[in-house]
Symmetry: C3
Subunit: 332 residues, 3 copies
Amino acid sequence: MGFFMGNLDTVQKAQKINCNFKGKDILSLDQFSPEDLEILFSLTRKMKIMESKGKTSDILAKKMLTLIFYEPSSRTFGSFCAAIKKLGGQTVEIQNPTQVSSVAKGETLEDTIRVFEAYSDAIIIRHPIAGTAKAASDAAFFIPIINAGDGTGEHPTQALLDLFTIKEQFHALKNLTVLFAGDMLNGRTVHSVLRGLSLFKGNSVYLLSPPSLRLTRADFTMFSQRGLKLIEINHESQIPKEVHVWYWTRVQKERFSDLKEYEKLKNTFTVTKKLLEKYANKNMILMHPLPRVGEIDREVDKDPRALYFRSEIRNGMYTRMALLALVLGKIS
Amino acid sequence: MGFFMGNLDTVQKAQKINCNFKGKDILSLDQFSPEDLEILFSLTRKMKIMESKGKTSDILAKKMLTLIFYEPSSRTFGSFCAAIKKLGGQTVEIQNPTQVSSVAKGETLEDTIRVFEAYSDAIIIRHPIAGTAKAASDAAFFIPIINAGDGTGEHPTQALLDLFTIKEQFHALKNLTVLFAGDMLNGRTVHSVLRGLSLFKGNSVYLLSPPSLRLTRADFTMFSQRGLKLIEINHESQIPKEVHVWYWTRVQKERFSDLKEYEKLKNTFTVTKKLLEKYANKNMILMHPLPRVGEIDREVDKDPRALYFRSEIRNGMYTRMALLALVLGKIS
Amino acid sequence: MGFFMGNLDTVQKAQKINCNFKGKDILSLDQFSPEDLEILFSLTRKMKIMESKGKTSDILAKKMLTLIFYEPSSRTFGSFCAAIKKLGGQTVEIQNPTQVSSVAKGETLEDTIRVFEAYSDAIIIRHPIAGTAKAASDAAFFIPIINAGDGTGEHPTQALLDLFTIKEQFHALKNLTVLFAGDMLNGRTVHSVLRGLSLFKGNSVYLLSPPSLRLTRADFTMFSQRGLKLIEINHESQIPKEVHVWYWTRVQKERFSDLKEYEKLKNTFTVTKKLLEKYANKNMILMHPLPRVGEIDREVDKDPRALYFRSEIRNGMYTRMALLALVLGKIS
C-alpha cells in the first residue's frame, strides 16, 4: 500500500474517499459527484502506473469477494477476477446460479444474498433484470454490493472505465462533444456514460440510432435537465467533424423478442475506414463497450484512434482495482 | 498457526485429533465420537474468535483441494471455497462435471476420483446419489474424501454446523428437546443431525411431518436404539413449549417424481410469527439448513431466535475451516 | 526459484531455453527440437523432485493465466489449474464461454482472445475445432497462447507428459518400439506423441486399429518420412513381445456423427490381464491418455506396468509446471 502514501495531497483525498466509497454499494453512476470521479480516476491512474512499473499492492489481502453472475459475461467476470486477485484479494466464483445453486431449488434473491454475505466482504452481482443490483443491496445487511450490470439498467464499472478512458485522452470530462451510435434505448452502458457526462459542464452529445432505438422521452428529458445538450441524428452524414469521442454500441440481440426486428436493425450503423476518413477528425477516439458483432469493421482495429482493444479493457481492470480498493481497502 | 499452540491442554487434544481426523475421509456423522465433536467444536470456536479478532491462519498453505460438485449447491460450494481460502489453501473447482468433463465422455466415478487425487490433497464431493461419497472414498488410494452431500444420504458438514450452532447456544448437546419439521424421509440433514444428537444422553426429538414424509421404520428403530427418544406428531399444536430447538426443513422438490404430490405437501408446515408466539418459548432457537422456499415467513427473519441467517451460515464456514484444518493441517 | 540455480550446467541450459520457450506460443509438438525436450523434461524432473521433498516455487508469482475452455475437459483443466497455483500463479477461469460469455452474444474468437489478453500473462485454450489454438495465437498481440487440445488437432501438453513418462521409464526416447491401439484417425494425442517420437532415431511404431480408424495416408506418409518405422496391424496376435510401450486409446464417441458406427467399433481392442500375459513383456509399460470407457479392464489397474493412474496424471501436472515456468518464468 506504500503507493497511496506518496504525498499529503493524496492522504487528504483519501479522507474524503472514506465518506464516498468506503463500505458503500456501487449501483449507479448517479451516486458519484465530480469529486468522487476525480478521486477514483486519480487512483486508477496510480494503479496503471504501478503495474507498468511491475509494482504490486496487497490492499485486498484477506478480503473475500463473491462474484454471482446470473447472466453470461465472461469479460466483466474475468476483469473483476483479475482486478481482485492482482490486489491480493480472494474470490468465491458462482456462475449461472440459476443452474448451479440453491436458486434452482427456488431460493429468492434476497435469501441468496444473505447467504453469501455471511462469508464475503463484498458481492459483485450480474443479473439480466434491471433493478436487481438495488434489490441485492436492500437484502445485504453488512457488506457492499457492486453492480456488474443489471439488464437494461446500469453497468456502472463499464461507464467508469469509459469515462476514465475519455479523461485519459482529453485530460478533462467537460466541454466535450460525444457521439453515441447504435442502441440508445436498451444500451445500459450508454445510459451510464450519459449519467457520468452530465456531471460536468459544457458537454454536447449526438445520438445516432434507428428511430425505434432512441432514448425514451423520459430519459431524453432527464438528461437534458441535467445539463447535457442532446442532439438526435438519423444519418452518419450529420456527424460533425469536431466530435471528440465516437462511442459505438452493439444492437443487443438478447433484448429483442422479435428476431426479425433485430436482423433489420443490427447493422444500421457500421464504422468503416471510409466512414472515419469522411467524418472523424485526427484527434478523436473510437470507443466500444464490446462485444461487437459487426458494427465496427476489423480493418478499423489497427487505427490508432480505435481504443476498444488498445485501452478500454485494461482500463476496465484498473478502474475496478481502484474502485474495490476504495470500497474495501484500508485507505485512511 | 500460532493459535493452535496456546496451552498444553490444546496440544494434548491435538494428539488425539490425529487419530480421529488426520488423513481421514469425512463421510458420515456416524464416524464421530462425542470426544471428536468436542475437539472439532473447540477448534471451530477458535476459528470464529480468530476471525473476529482479524487474525488469520495459513494452516492449509500449499494444500490443493479439489471440489467436484455433480449437483447444484452454490451455498455449500461457496462455504467450502471460502473456508479453504481463508486458511491459505488453494482450490481446483469443478462444477457440473457431467457436462464439463471426462464424465461426459463416459468415465466412471472411480476413474474420475483417481485422476483428481493425483493432484489434490483432498477431494470435496457433492453428488445427487446416496452412497457416492463412500464410493469415492473406496476409489481414492491416498487422499481424504469429504462428503459435501450425497443425495438422500448424508451431508455431514451441514449437520456439524447445526450441532455447533446448538452447542454454542445451550453449551451442551445433551438433555435437549429438539423439534424437526418438514421432510423426515428425504431430508439428509435431518438424518445427519439425528445421528449427532444420538451420541449424547437425554435427548428427545419431536418429528413433525406429513405421514408420507416420515422417517422409514428402519431409521426410526435405529435412532431409537441409539438412545434418542423419538415422538412423531402430526400438528403444530402438539409442539411442547419446552422445546429448545426448532429445526425446520424444506420439502425437497428435486426428490419427488410426482410434482403434484410435491405441490400438495410443500407448505404443510410453515413457521409464522403467530406460530412462534403460540408454541415457542423465549430461549428456543429456530434453525433451517436453507434454502427455504416459503416454509418460514420472511417476517420471522428479524426474530432474534431465528439463527439461519444470523449464525448458521457463518458457523458453517468456521466448522469447515476447523474440519479441514484437522484433516489436512500440520497440527501435532 | 533457488532450485533453478543448482549448477552452471543448468544455467547454460536455461539460457538456451529462453530462445525456445520464453514468451512462445505452445501449439504443436512440431515446434520442439530434441534439445527443447531435453530442457523441458529436465525441469519437469526437478519439479517432481522438488514436490517430493515438500519444497515449493513461486516462479509464477504475480502472473495471471486465463483458462478458456470451450469443450468439456475437467482433467486437463484441473491439471493446468493445479500446476499454475502450485507455482504461485493466479487464474481467471472461463468454462463453456459459448454459454457463459460474450461468445453467446456473437463475439468472434479473435475478439475474445484480444479481450482476455488485456489482463492475462498467458491464455490456455481448449476448443473442439482443430486449428483454433493457431487462430488464437494469430489473434493475440502480446502474450503466449497454450494449446490445451483443439479437436482432432493437437494436445501438446498431453503428448509431452506421455513422452516424459516414457523417458522416465526407459531413460531415452530413441530406439524404442511403441504400440498404439484404438483410434489412430481422430486420436489427437496419438498424433502428438508420434510427432514427438519422430524427433528421435530408431523408433518403431505398431498401429493397431479397426481399418476405418487408421491414420490418413497423408499422415502415414508424413510420419514415415520423418523417420518413424510404421507398421499397421489388425489383430492383437500381431503385437511383438519386444514392444516397450503399449499406448492404448479410447474410440472417441464425440468424433462420430453415426453412433451405430461408434457402438460397433468402440470395444474392438480391449486390454485384459490375459492379453498382457500373452503378448506383453515384463518391462513394458501400459499407458492411456484417459478417460477410458472400457478399453482397459479394471483388473489391469493393479498391474505395476499400468502407469495411467500411477504416473501419467501427476507427470502431466509436473510437465505443465515446467512448461509454464519456461514460457513465463523469470529463468535466466
